[in-house]
């Protein structure tokens, strides 16, 4: 577990995981929530899609391809539908669960996310980033648990901020020619900036 000296927010914490994975030459990185929502038994299927079949650079576990396995709150469902429609239109591929935090990426995804990862509510923007860099996306149906413990970081007033922030980021992103400064020189310092910290990103080479 990477420990950060203070709360970096989800974007920063997850990116720590990707930076660590890059620095240690991992082939695959997995992102799962730490609250027990995501069932590890699906990881095998996801790895299959990612590596064996090689159909994508990032495989996402989607709640909405089949039965989600738990009762998704209405607000959550609604927000997901809006983001789903917007992202699907932009990436020209049906994205059913753009806010799912259950993701597995290959080396290319690790490299991209280690270099750049969105801030506050990163999931939707991360999908658009992948698309802008011509990485392929794939969703597999998963069932999830209702969260095991803890409270969502997204309460009512924050959900308004969430929507506004992500929509603003998507909108502005449309006007960026290169969403990520990928050609920036790789500085050694940047890559070794893997600080101790808590990431909900578990990663494992294979």
């Amino acid at each position: 577990v990477l420990r950060h000296p203070f709360n970096l927010g989800i974007g920063g914490a997850v990116q720590s995981g990707y930076k660590y994975a890059l620095a240690h030459d991992y082939d695959v990185a997995v992102q799962v929530d730490g609250d027990g929502q995501h069932k590890p038994e699906y990881l095998e299927t996801m790895l299959d899609e990612l590596h064996t079949r090689g159909v994508a650079d990032m495989v996402t576990g989607s709640r909405f391809l089949e039965d989600p396995g738990y009762k998704v709150p209405l607000g959550r469902r609604l927000g997901n539908m809006i983001f789903g429609a917007v992202t699907s239109a932009i990436v020209r591929q049906r994205i059913t669960d753009p806010t799912s935090g259950m993701r597995m990426t290959n080396r290319r995804g690790i490299e991209l996310f280690a270099r750049d990862y969105p801030h506050d509510y990163p999931e939707v923007e991360a999908i658009l980033m992948l698309h802008a860099h011509r990485l392929r996306l794939h969703e597999v149906p998963v069932r999830m648990n209702a969260r095991g413990f803890g409270r969502s970081s997204i309460d009512y007033p924050r959900s308004a901020f969430y929507m506004a922030k992500v929509l603003l980021a998507i909108f502005v992103g449309l006007f960026r020619r290169r969403p990520t400064p990928l050609d920036a020189p790789r500085s050694e310092a940047e890559e070794s900036a893997v600080a101790p910290g808590a990431a909900s990103a578990g990663a494992k080479g294979s």
Binding site: R3, H4, P5, Y20, A23, M104, R151, S200, G202, K204
Partner: protein, 162 residues
């Protein structure tokens, strides 16, 4: 038609402010979080510019005779609020920077001790050793100055090996 002129000027100024903020976000010089705040303030200005009666209503409501004074009071209140917000954010940032520097100093010291040098005077290089050495240390005493009260509890389930 003086009123209309001022209205047009206000519209143009508000629109320009919007564009500047959006352009800053596009160039990644401004994070969305703060951009939203400024856009919200800009939207308020825009509403006041278009809907002039609103200003009169507000002036009446807070008991100010001249609507112009009302807008000064409002603007001052908003700016003061923003300043306070930024000051709080700034305080948090400087606190976090301090904690970071302290963590680096501790890691640097522990690293040099591990390397077998006498902890003092063994090269004044700050820790620029790369991830491997940091990784060696991460199992060590993780006396974080302040634990992140993370809403997502740290855990790292692992992918199945092939």
């Amino acid at each position: 038609m003086d009123g209309l002129d001022i209205q047009i000027v206000a519209l143009i100024v508000a629109a320009a402010a919007f564009l500047v903020v959006l352009e800053l976000v596009r160039r990644r010089r401004l994070v969305e979080r703060y951009a939203l705040l400024l856009l919200l303030a800009g939207a308020g200005l825009l509403v006041l510019a278009v809907w002039r009666d609103l200003l009169e209503i507000i002036a009446d409501g807070i008991g100010v005779e001249d609507p112009v004074n009302a807008i000064f009071i409002l603007a001052f209140a908003v700016v003061a609020g923003l300043l306070l917000h930024f000051s709080v954010a700034n305080s948090r940032l400087s606190d976090e920077t301090k904690i970071l520097a302290q963590e680096v100093a501790r890691l640097d010291r522990e690293l040099r001790t591990l390397r077998g040098g006498t902890a003092d005077g063994n090269g004044a290089q700050p820790a620029d050793e790369g991830a491997e050495t940091l990784a060696e240390l991460r199992e060590g005493p993780a006396a974080s100055a302040r634990e992140a009260a993370s809403e997502r509890p740290p855990s790292s389930p692992e992918a199945p090996t092939e």
